[in-house]
Amino acid sequence: MMKQLAGNRNDSWVVIAGLIVAIVIFAYFSAGGNMGTFTITLLSGLLRAMLLFLVAAGLSLIFGLMGILNFAQGAYFMVGAYLAYDIQHPTSGVISLGQHIPNPELRFLVGIIVAIAVGGALGAILETVLLRPLYKRHLFQLVLTFGVSLIMLEGIKAVWSTTPYTWLENIGIQTQRFVIFGASFSYYRLFIIAMGVLLIIGVALLLRRTRIGIIIRAGVEDSEMVSALGINVRSVFTLVFTLGCAMAAFGGAVAAPFLGATIGMGNTFLLASIAVIVLGGLGSYEGTAVGSVIVGLAWATMEQFSIRPGVGSVWASITPMLLLALVLLLRPKGLFGEER
């Protein structure tokens, strides 16, 4: 069984199809056969998948390129959520930037842009100032990102306190809902799913069709060789780190309207994203995309399942970690990973 599972690339797609079908069947069972609930579960799963992708893509590319698992990636997601929340709510927030913008829709846009900018800037600082001096010492780089995540978490606690924030001010698209099989789903969430799919395709095109993407992919294969060819790999590292962190912060900002801003969200998404990249195979882009769909669907399904009496919500919370443990046990190289 183990030998069969660890087959070649074509087998991967069979395993993926099998997993997704199994999750969908389980989702139907969890919904108790109710088509409306079933559809909403799947849509929530896809939504979760897109948010996971935003965090995991950076994590995966950074790992593939530099061999660093950025434990601070979850903190960037959280920073994005807090900034977006704060700018949207001028009365209950801490930074009074939002007060100068009367239009709530504009505020929302500004919030997202600020989150991306701050996330990217913090990412660039982390890479250039803190990680570069430790270039040849991977163990200490790992330890350092862990320390940075601690600083960011405690910094957020110092600025915004530990009180969880719930999004109060909904702008147009967040309130409009559509009905499917008798259950309603917000257009805003659907919009995020669509945007996530576009981002997956966009980043894939960036990686496959542009010169910089080719350099990045070559760097994932062998960064020393790329640097021997006369390409400044260090600046590519900085670029990927900045983009990865900006994407995570963007994910946090768009998720804030329904997840709110809480101090636990960073860690939750970090661990789920780690599950994603291990499932997909460390450093593999397509693996990350497929992995986030699988983990997202499984997570949302377990959330639906845990509503049933006698299950307990704790099982939904630990689903990503359970998946991670199962992958490490059964197929440690992941779906698209190489034998390591």
């Binding site: 698992l69 434990f71 803190l130 001096p133 430790l134 010492r137 163990l139 200490f140 790992l142 330890v143 350092l144 862990f146 320390g147 940075v148 601690l150 600083i151 405690e154 910094g155 606690k157 110092a158 860690n267 661990l271 780690i274 599950a275 291990v278 460390l282 307990g312 919500s313 704790v314 919370s317 630990i318 970690m321 359970l322 991670l324 443990a325 490490l328 046990l329 440690p332 390591r340």
Partner: protein, 381 residues
């Protein structure tokens, strides 16, 4: 160096002379409760009320601080065995710490076994559970690259932390207090006993790790840290050695958890949380990775700083140090990793050897000058 007469000292005397510093520290720690009591005019047994003792006074206070330091030092030393000596990094070491505490607490609080027997049983159970769990986690993840072990420990610790935080039996987030424990061990009655038990555990762990690392097995640990591929090529089955290190480290962390639970008598899911892992990591790095006394110094200095700044709620220039203590800890962490990656002990040793190297060079230069009558270029230049 040639021409010296062969050493005629007895091995006992050699041991004593080689370890004079550690022995002096041990004597100091043995006398500490009485010393503090004598200096501050308080009894190390607390204040007597009728037939009972009330735990008041500086001596009793510093006893509790040092018991906590012993618990943390054991945790940090066990972490250093993995991170510093074997080169395996874990982000979930608090898991074993929490398991130790919860097992002993639940044994007393949720079963009817007599407290003394319960203590013995829970120590055995803790060693079995933490050892097996550490072994299992290592077995699953260490077949792969080192990063998987970091990931897997983090995931398992987080999973258990979430689960314990919502476990109705142990009151979820709130945790529970220990109200039933052997009287001779109770820190609110006989704290001095617990102090010496903690000291004994600490000294045992220290000596055990020193013996282990200096043994042939420990040499292989360090070979793995330096270059695992090479150790493998020489013919060592490195997985076995890493598993040995992890199993022992997990059991020690369980022991530290028991001591922590005995002292605080209050258990919550935070024992499994990331804070204790960060503590272990930070104290290892601040003290000195891969040294014997580094973790002890790290644990001691950080916990005393914790007591002085966090609990006292000090503020400097309107900035409350107590409330932002973890933030400051984070900054110290990052700065130490960047600037002093060898920690206090490592940096001190490096400075020492650098100074003596300089001094030796200068002397050689002088000797050469007197011989040839001309300045000689620095051999290192």
């Amino acid at each position: 160096m040639q021409g010296q007469p062969p050493k005629t000292r007895s091995p006992w005397l050699t041991t004593l002379l080689d370890n004079w510093f550690l022995l002096a520290v041990l004597v100091f720690l043995l006398l500490l409760p009485h010393l503090v009591g004598w200096l501050t005019d308080s009894s190390p047994y607390g204040v007597q009320r009728g037939t009972r003792f009330i735990m008041q006074g500086r001596s009793v206070f510093w006893q509790s601080v040092f018991i906590e330091i012993y618990a943390l030092a054991v945790l940090v030393m066990s972490y250093n065995l993995m991170f510093g000596f074997t080169g395996v990094i874990s982000f979930g070491h608090a898991l074993f710490f929490g398991l130790g505490g919860y097992i002993v607490g639940m044994m007393w609080q949720y079963t009817d076994i007599a407290p003394d027997l319960g203590l013995g049983l829970s120590i055995i159970l803790t060693m079995a559970v933490t050892g097996l769990l550490g072994f299992f986690i290592g077995l699953v993840s260490l077949r792969l690259r080192g990063i998987y072990f970091a990931i897997f420990t983090l995931a398992v610790a987080e999973m258990v932390w979430i689960y314990v935080g919502r476990w109705p039996l142990t009151n979820g987030e709130d945790g529970f207090s220990i109200s039933r424990m052997p009287e001779w061990l109770d820190p609110s009655r006989n704290r001095l006993n617990l102090y010496y038990i903690g000291l004994a555990l600490f000294v045992f762990t220290f000596l055990f790790i020193r013996r282990l690392v200096n043994s042939p097995t420990g040499t292989v640990f360090q070979a793995i840290r330096e270059n695992e591929e090479r150790a493998k090529t020489i013919g060592y089955h490195t997985l076995t050695y890493k598993l040995i290190a992890i199993t022992i480290a997990s059991m020690m962390a369980g022991g530290a958890g028991i001591l922590h639970a005995l002292l605080n008598k209050k258990l919550g899911p935070e024992m499994f949380g990331v804070v204790y892992t960060v503590d272990a990591l930070l104290m290892t790095i601040i003290g000195g990775v891969g040294t014997f006394i580094g973790p002890v110094i790290g644990a001691g200095s950080l916990h005393i700083a914790d007591v002085l700044f966090r609990d006292a709620n000090t503020s400097i220039l309107g900035f409350n140090i107590g409330e932002n203590w973890l933030l400051i800890t984070g900054f110290i962490f990052v700065i130490v990793v960047l600037v002093f990656p060898y920690g206090m002990v490592g940096t001190w040793r490096r400075a020492q050897s650098w100074l003596s190297q300089r001094w030796r060079n200068r002397r050689q230069q002088k000797v050469a000058m007197t011989r040839t009558g001309q300045p000689v270029e620095d051999s290192r230049a």
